[in-house]
Symmetry: C2
């Protein structure tokens, strides 16, 4: 094997590939990056059995071939090379990879390419296309609601639901729920549901960091899903099982409705929440009356905090307590200057949404407080 | 106690005070910040018994008094207050501190001011004044050479030496040594030596982060040293014992002398060092001949690295091995575009210095390699 390519393009590819290498790989070969040089350039693969990526890099291939090299060292070496061009050559007799650039020469030990569990792109399954900006926004506005404890594995992922030309993402830990909806670029028959691990969604969010809209082709079966974006292919295992009927958790009627400034309420809740932070449920209380909301918290070992701000209240006075972080999390992803809080009573779930956007819904269960 | 002051000035002071609060204080009172409001404004103190700081903040004091408040909560609360002005009031009957700003009100529990081990500024001892820029530079150019293992406590600090109008700082871990010299703003009789813990020097470096030169008044006895800078007073315990005769470790004659570009050599050593990093002594080899230096490293479980760059060599060819980090550390603090490496043979200590600066010296012991 022998090829030359641009350092910047190679670094970018192995940086992405490196993200799907586990910090403690199950077997040594999984610490490696698979490189296949052929007439089309380079194909780079990495996997931890949960997620797998395939990347393509332009290269001038003098001699085709395939190798596996330590992901960690390969990345660090290539990243620091002095020149913009990189030459890579594999000597089959010594099993050594030679990397040259400018006046630098590195040799790295290799692993057997035949031992690498090569990723086979999905052929079967439902297919649809979504804009990368839509997908990123769905992920950003929901996954913070996923559960972190492992008692309910389904809740450690987010639900991706496709119905007609709609794509929805839902995440919950059973105390709060995020729901967001967008459009896909085609129409699908029936209703399809898939549960994607939160970690994979975070990776996709990270990989799709560019602001330039791209088409993401998604293929899915009940156990596997793949994302194809230009020179990048990601495949992931799905969480098996049936996601609960989330619509039942979204109340449809409310007796009270409050409109608040997003930024002011976020900073007030953050401040008052400081005092609540070391308490069991991180509880802050909200009291709505006379066009104002009083925000307060009380922690016997630290002290108290209290703040007042204007609120447009429709309906009766109400006092209700929430986990401060559950409010802070949603206020951070609200896109509008003001937001709407819909309430029934101090024990019933409340709803957070944006004034001119029916697509996003956040349900939050109050904390019961002793009186 | 009752006063008002500017949020920005209070935050800055408690941020500095917070740095001398241990993460696991020996007693609860040491987790607190002591505040004394009097006719001159506020005096703020904190200590972990090793280091102590006293800060002064301008304030409009309505009612004098003294309190101790949890450093962690006080900082976090004050930092997030909405308004530029802060009002603080202590209610002696409830032992509660009330902090108000804009529409926010916090109350924090207090601790007994009489329990706080108040810092008594040093009266006795040798006194001299040094420019803050000189002091910071002495610290920056030496303390990275301190030992990190606790077998020789003296080497976990740096030596501050005053002689005539000279101030010197020396640090070593017995494998390498940094020496730097500057001037003080007066003249002292005899030779004085003090060993300051590395951690304290790092704190001082951090606190003196401003680029504006200030006068630092230093007072020292054999067990204690204080630094007085405008509105800030720092006092620290010194490491007891006699620092070894460091001058004996600095060779005076060399048979070879190499001049190298600082930036190019730093990046070459960093690259080649990548391969050496997981080996026992992080060893890289340098071979000087024919106007070039060959830099290489060899790690049986990873691979090899090799690089060549120009070098102005005076004297015979030589091959010598060093710990790569010991070279990288000093190359990072060299101020000149090129530097001088002086050598004898491959087993004798080498010297790194700047071409037009006699004040800075770095001694580095080679690594013995098998041939």
């Amino acid at each position: 094997m022998k090829f030359s390519c641009l350092k910047s393009e190679l670094v970018q590819a192995i940086q992405i590939a490196g993200r799907s290498i586990a910090s403690k790989p199950q077997t040594p070969i999984l610490s490696g990056i698979y490189i296949h040089a052929n007439d089309d350039g380079l194909e780079i693969q990495s996997t931890d059995y949960e997620i797998g990526v395939i990347l393509h890099v332009k290269a001038e291939v003098e001699k085709p071939g395939e190798i596996v090299v330590s992901g960690r060292y390969f990345y660090e070496v290539v990243r620091t090379l002095p020149d913009e061009e990189v030459m890579i050559e594999y000597d089959r007799s010594t099993e050594i990879i030679k990397i040259s650039s400018g006046k630098s020469t590195f040799t790295l030990l290799s692993m057997k390419a035949s031992d690498f569990p090569k990723i086979i792109p999905m052929r079967e399954g439902k297919k649809f296309t979504v804009n990368s900006v839509v997908l990123k926004e769905l992920i950003r506005r929901t996954i913070f609601s996923c559960a972190t404890d492992e008692t309910r594995p389904l809740f450690m992922g987010a639900l991706l639901e496709i119905e007609g030309n709609k794509v929805r993402m839902v995440a919950t830990n059973s105390h709060r729920l995020s729901f967001d909806e967008g459009n896909i670029e085609s129409e699908l028959e029936g209703l399809s549901q898939y549960v994607i691990p939160k970690r994979i969604l975070e990776e996709i969010q990270h990989i799709l960091s560019s602001e330039i809209p791209e088409k993401v082709e998604i293929t899915c079966t009940q156990s596997e899903m793949s994302f194809n974006i230009e020179r990048l292919y990601i495949t992931t295992r799905l969480i098996e099982g049936r996601y609960p009927e989330y619509r039942r958790a979204i109340p449809s009627e409310f007796s009270k409705r409050v409109t608040l400034s997003t930024a002011s309420f976020l900073s007030a809740v953050s401040r008052v929440g400081l005092i609540a932070r070391s308490s069991e449920y991180n509880t802050i209380k909200l009291m709505f009356n006379m066009g104002e909301v009083h925000i307060y918290s009380d922690n016997p070992v630290v002290g108290k905090a209290e703040e007042t701000m204007q609120a447009a209240i429709e309906g009766d006075d109400i006092e209700i307590a929430f986990n401060a972080s559950y409010l802070i999390d949603v206020l951070k992803i609200i896109n509008s200057e003001s937001f709407i809080l819909e309430l029934n009573d101090s024990l019933k779930p409340a709803l957070v949404r944006e004034p001119d956007n029916e697509n996003f819904i956040y349900v939050i269960t109050p904390v019961r407080t002793k009186h």
